[in-house]
């Protein structure tokens, strides 16, 4: 989803260019954290611009409300600001940011059911437009997105996290395992159960 990010990892299934990309990204991340430790204020601004979309969208899918997503994003960045200097680079900065965000959302939201506010209506916030689509195609897509977003709120939080990380954020199973700090088998199971719950909510065929 965050294709413009310069610090983030390569697409999970991109494969061939990963060995070239990884050291550069890791070095850039180390530099950024080092600058932050030295008190370079611009470093955190850069960090915010790189990851604000990621955090906001992840929070939005977890809480189901734009207003609450704003609050959660603010809180997540406050947490990150306090702990970024302790980042040791054992995972990528993106994975670490996802983890902080997921953990914060869990602690704030618990297991309560999400509100049914539609996440795709445009109430003043700009959607990321795909200029290749015609208005008709976009309308169909928005309708479909609205239905799916609403259905996503029906999914159990643990399964929803995994599905969002996989299908909306495009993370590989191993990356999701790193973010959620669970075995890869658990990731596989949560994704499948989340998708199955969605399929049932949507009535998307294939009765058991």
């Amino acid at each position: 989803m965050q294709g413009e990010l310069s610090l983030t990892t390569a697409p999970p299934r991109g494969g061939s260019d990963a060995p070239v990309e990884a050291p550069t990204r890791a070095q850039r991340e180390r530099d950024l954290v080092a600058r932050f430790r030295r008190g370079d204020q611009e470093a955190f601004e850069e960090f915010y611009r790189e990851f604000s979309g990621l955090v906001y969208n992840l929070a939005l899918r977890q809480c189901g409300s734009r207003e609450q997503a704003r609050d959660l994003t603010q809180e997540v960045f406050l947490r990150i600001f306090k702990s970024l200097s302790r980042f040791r680079g054992q995972s990528s900065l993106k994975t670490w940011t996802y983890r902080v965000c997921i953990n914060h959302c869990r602690s704030r939201l618990g297991r309560k059911r999400l509100p049914t506010e539609s996440l795709t209506t445009d109430d003043g916030e700009r959607e990321l437009l795909d200029v290749r689509r015609t208005p008709e195609e976009r309308a169909v897509q928005e309708d479909e997105g609205r239905v799916l977003s609403d259905a996503l709120t029906e999914v159990e939080p643990l399964f929803r996290e995994a599905v969002v990380l996989r299908d909306l954020e495009g993370l590989a199973y191993q990356e999701i395992a790193d973010v959620l700090e669970v075995p890869i088998g658990t990731v596989r199971s949560r994704i499948a159960r989340g998708r199955e719950q969605l399929r049932r909510v949507l009535g998307a065929g294939g009765a058991e």
Binding site: Q74, G145, R166, D167, A192, R195, G205
Partner: protein, 230 residues
């Protein structure tokens, strides 16, 4: 894999993500070729996944950057909207300061009240209120007499001399040669003035003073002149 052993949803889901081992993929392909029901399930899951992948990112609200970075005081507001947001945040901060100051003042008032009450209890609040109350076992008490304060101690004049308010019958008398007497007079030099207070020219007559000294009630006879000669 046969038609009778349908794959679990987990396998179908991992199949979509190409996360199955090659052997498992071959088995599943073989099963799907002969099982309409599982092809239907797989198709349903594929539609869910494809739909999710088409959900677009939502751009964070523009004001959020100022909220986050402003909250961390990393940069001053730049645009009018940012300045207004900062002002709103500032007023919230002022309100929180007012609340904090109010709480601190309230706490200080309560503490000072408690402290005053404790002091009054010690000095005999009833006497402070104007009503002269004799100590519990005073030898003699005359209402309406003078009161004198030495430091934090309050003394009332009775027919028998000066008695520190709240102090009972003396347990011992500090004689003229008692070393504690000199120490007491050094500690409370105002006692000599007390001895002369209201003596109306009878300063030669020793005045009896009863007071608390090191946790017990003591009495001493005191003449300012005599003490000053000493």
């Amino acid at each position: 894999m046969t038609v009778s052993s349908h794959p679990a949803t987990e396998e179908l889901s991992a199949y979509i993500d190409e996360e199955l081992e090659r052997r498992a993929v071959e088995d599943l392909d073989a099963h799907l070729a002969s099982c309409l029901e599982c092809r239907h399930r797989l198709e349903g899951l594929r539609r869910v996944v494809a739909g999710l992948q088409r959900i677009e990112s939502v751009a964070p609200p523009p004001a959020l950057e100022e909220m986050v970075l402003g909250q961390l005081a990393l940069r001053p507001p730049r645009t009018l909207a940012e300045r207004l947001a900062a002002r709103r945040r500032g007023s919230r901060r002022v309100r929180s300061y007012v609340g904090t100051i109010f709480a601190v003042v309230l706490a200080l008032v309560i503490i000072s009240l408690l402290f005053t009450q404790a002091v009054q209890r010690r000095q005999g609040a009833a006497v402070e209120a104007g009503e002269v109350v004799p100590p519990a076992d005073s030898v003699e008490w005359r209402a309406g007499v003078d009161r004198q304060r030495i430091g934090e101690r309050l003394f009332a004049r009775t027919a028998g001399g000066w008695i520190e308010v709240g102090v009972g019958e003396p347990q011992r008398v500090l004689g003229a040669n008692d070393p504690e007497r000199a120490e007491l007079l050094r500690t409370l030099p105002g006692l000599e003035a007390l001895a002369g207070a209201g003596a109306e020219g009878e300063s030669q007559t020793p005045t009896r003073i009863v007071l608390e000294w090191r946790g017990e009630s003591v009495a001493l006879e005191l003449s300012p002149l005599a003490e000053s000669r000493r």
